[in-house]
């Protein structure tokens, strides 16, 4: 094989391909200087032209505070705002329909119901998860919204009312209000009596067998607690008084926790959302919470179902 020429004025031509070489050689292997096809060059120029146009039209050049604006005035934030606007406009009729519908008849319109649940899920994540948790499972002092135990009631209308007006909300007349006395702290009961009533509560919730203390506690309960919690301790939803006989404890069901509750009282507060969220959002939240598995039927549901069935027949 011929040595590649070192003379830079005369390119060495490869015999087989007729192409000039670069003049390098590695153990007899030379590098061809194959020319680029013209169309490739044109493509390259076209890309440069496109890049220049892009830099002029779109934000591209970094400046002190932001990038250059670009002739088109495009920005990703602007895109987002426009898209959110479009989405809101798209959702507006659905939200309107939810706001104007009877909350108890929503179940008869599966599409609207679905939209309400999803809208509620989104609103829940923004407004409610701070206390009730992202899975609505609550925490000590914050009710679990998945279960079937409700302090004030678990039908759609009641949940909506709780959401709108809150619980023990100060300076709001329509709020749900009830106060458990601090029996120990305010010396309404003597310390042994408090111990006795705690024992009694643990007995009626089947956490410990009846003994002398619990039997004494029964009398204390009947005199001081039954007025709100009921003679059987089954609670009273009108007053938000919890059922003391079931397996669910908002503040804990062990002796210490119940003792604290009786001694110091508990006064959980839920904000009223009526002045912060739109009625449609509150309605969607109510539907969402109701759908979590513990939702209860309205006291007057039977006729509603009949009505929605009629409605369903009319609909195409």
């Amino acid at each position: 094989m011929a040595e590649p020429g070192n003379d830079s004025t005369k390119p060495h031509i490869d015999e087989v391909t007729g192409t000039p070489t670069k003049g390098h050689e590695w153990d007899g292997i030379v590098e061809l200087d194959t020319p680029l096809p013209r169309w490739w060059l044109w493509t390259f120029y076209a890309c440069i032209a496109f890049a220049i146009g892009y830099v002029i039209a779109y934000p591209a050049i970094p400046m002190l505070n932001s990038a250059s604006k670009g002739l088109l005035g495009w920005s990703s934030r602007g895109d987002l705002t426009a898209e959110m606007g479009r989405e809101q406009a798209r959702m507006a009729p659905v939200v309107q329909a939810i706001a104007s519908a009877d909350i108890e008849k929503l179940a008869g319109q599966p599409k609207l119901m679905r939209a309400a649940i999803e809208g509620g899920r989104a609103a829940f994540r923004v407004n409610c998860v701070q206390c009730h948790g992202s899975g609505a499972a609550g925490a000590k002092g914050y009710p679990n919204l998945n279960d079937d135990d409700w302090l004030w009631g678990g039908d759609l209308k009641t949940i909506e009312k709780t959401l709108t007006d809150g619980i023990r909300n100060p300076d709001h007349d329509a709020t749900r209000m009830s106060l458990m006395p601090a029996f120990g702290k305010d010396q309404l009961l003597a310390a042994p009596a408090v111990d006795d009533v705690v024992a009694y509560v643990r007995t009626i919730s089947r956490q410990q067998p009846a003994d002398a203390a619990s039997r004494r506690g029964a009398t204390v309960f009947a005199d001081n607690c039954a007025v709100c919690h009921g003679a059987q301790g089954k609670g009273n939803r009108d007053l938000g008084a919890p059922n003391l006989t079931d397996g669910i404890w908002l503040y804990g069901g062990d002796t210490d926790a119940i003792h604290q509750t009786v001694w110091n009282s508990r006064r959980g507060v839920m904000p009223r959302w009526g002045d912060k969220l739109s009625p449609a959002t509150i309605r969607m939240l109510a539907v969402y919470v109701h759908s979590l598995g513990g939702g209860e039927a309205s006291p007057a549901l039977a006729p509603v179902i009949a009505a929605t069935k009629e409605e369903a027949n009319v609909r195409p």
Binding site: T17, P20, T34, P37, N144, N146, D147, D246, G247, G293
Partner: protein, 480 residues
């Protein structure tokens, strides 16, 4: 004429224009036939109808990306069955290997869309501009009314073909008659117009102007193929031992023994659609379309020499022939270890897929447990878990299905639109045709034995055809 010098010396190489001459012969006719068949398949397929009942589209071949379904005659593929498509692609790959190891670059020469459309465009070009010499003259001629008119007509026809090509493509992705109507009345989706525009432009440019440069510079397949060809693959071969030294008829007449059969008429170069000179041996520009064989055979017939100075020949045969032996029969050349292995593999995959297709279930269940919260304590001491269940009805008719619990004694289950009081061990649904029904199911167990228990959901079709599917899940409870 420096045929093979596609790349001229310089920093950037200008394209050497190619003016392939019209030719008739065995391989040209084969190319005609394959072109007719492939183009017909391309343009006709979306318009074929196939009755699938009232709940599914009646287009025989439809890639319904919007609804994530792929229809091909009696076969319907869901996204989770994409392995059939993967299998089909593997078969296509192995098929290509098989063709390559048997008959070389036959795909390039006959069936590749770039070849077929370039061929079509070249016929249009000949129809408008005339054959090779007229085309060369016209190209050199100064721009005038006549040249402009010819160019306009040619480009218009090219553009029309390109538009028809790009236009047909979109019909594979939506109901063809509906889309056609929407397309012409301006109601089709933006993406349909964009697709047609892009494909029209690429067809026009690639078929009209880029042509053989696509094969030489852009396409990876020729590079891969040159690694796949071996001494047993059919390639277009110039029998240089018979043709050389080449010389014109006149020269040969003066010295009868000094020359071979090649009369150096350059017909093989003139007809070549990629402009190579096959007499320089196998090369990347040769798509093995066989048109030079047709051209040379005609010349050989005229000069009274046997045909096949240029022919499809394996390297093994060429070596044998040079040494004075006989080439193997065509069948013997086609049958060797690689082709047999590829063919067996190809058939095995095809058979396995057909079997799987025949035995596949058209009912399915997927269960996802609520993770937040994992379980809910109920007021009577029971524990509730929630599950999102997806029921797949892959038949094109609505079906009644029943989901049942098994392996969780004493548990009750209810769907989200019912209440616990209505709970039982099974729930029924009507799953719409060809779709997935998504339902939330609550399961409550009064006395969970352990904090985690295995059980399963079983779905059963309640019609005559039947079918079941199940999925195992856990029931979670509080830590003891």
């Amino acid at each position: 004429m420096s045929g093979p010098d596609l790349l001229t010396v310089g920093r950037y190489a200008k394209r050497q224009p190619v003016y392939p001459k019209a030719i008739d012969g065995t391989f040209r006719r084969l190319k005609w036939a394959i072109m007719a068949v492939t183009l017909a398949i391309y343009w006709v397929t979306p318009w074929l109808r196939w009755d699938r009942g009232p709940y599914a589209p009646d287009q025989a071949v439809l890639i319904d990306l919007a609804h994530r379904r792929f229809y091909m005659f009696a076969i319907e593929i869901w996204p989770q069955e994409f392995y059939y498509v993967a299998g089909l692609l593997i078969m296509a790959g192995i098929g290509l290997f098989l063709v390559t190891s048997a008959v070389g670059r036959a795909w390039c020469g006959y069936a590749c869309p770039q070849t077929v459309w370039t061929d079509l465009y070249q016929h249009v070009e000949r129809f408008i501009d005339g054959d090779r010499n007229a085309q060369m003259r016209l190209n050199k001629a100064p721009w005038g009314m006549a040249k402009l008119a010819k160019r306009m007509v040619k480009w218009s026809i090219w553009l029309a073909i390109a538009f028809a090509t790009g236009g047909a493509w979109i019909f594979y992705f939506a109901d063809a008659p509906t889309l056609s109507h929407d397309f012409w009345t301006g109601q089709a989706a933006y993406v349909a117009y964009a697709t047609v525009a892009v494909l029209t432009a690429t067809t026009f440019v690639l078929g009209g102007f880029m042509r053989e440069q696509v094969c030489i510079y852009m396409c990876p397949w020729p590079r891969i193929q040159s690694a796949m060809l071996d001494e047993k693959s059919l390639v277009v071969t110039y029998r240089h031992w018979r043709g050389e030294p080449r010389g014109s008829l006149k020269a040969a007449a003066t010295t009868p023994t000094g020359f071979g059969d090649c009369i150096d008429c350059n017909q093989c170069v003139a007809v070549c659609p990629t402009g190579v000179d096959i007499r320089q041996g196998p090369q990347i520009g040769c798509i093995t379309c066989g048109l030079c064989i047709d051209a040379c055979d005609r010349v050989m017939a005229k000069t009274g020499k046997p045909r096949g100075l240029i022919d499809y020949l394996t390297e093994d045969d060429a070596t044998a022939e040079k040494a004075g032996g006989q080439p193997k029969s065509v069948l013997r050349s086609l049958l060797h270890v690689r082709t047999v292995v590829y063919f067996t593999l190809w058939c095995a995959i095809g058979a396995a897929m057909l079997f799987a297709l025949g035995a596949r279930d058209r009912i399915g269940i997927d269960v996802q447990q609520d993770r937040n919260p994992l379980y809910v304590q109920l007021s009577d001491g029971a524990v509730r878990n929630a599950f999102t269940v997806k029921l797949r009805n892959m038949q094109s008719r609505p079906r009644r299905m029943e989901v049942a619990l098994s392996g969780l004694p004493g548990a009750k289950m209810w769907s989200e639109d019912l209440t616990r009081a209505a709970g039982s061990t099974s729930v029924s649904f009507t799953v719409p045709a060809d779709s997935v029904l998504r339902a939330r199911l609550f399961v409550a167990s009064t006395a969970p034995a352990a904090h985690r228990q295995d059980f399963s959901f079983t779905v059963r079709a309640l019609d005559k055809e039947g079918g079941t599917a199940h999925e195992s899940v856990h029931f979670e409870g509080p830590q003891p």
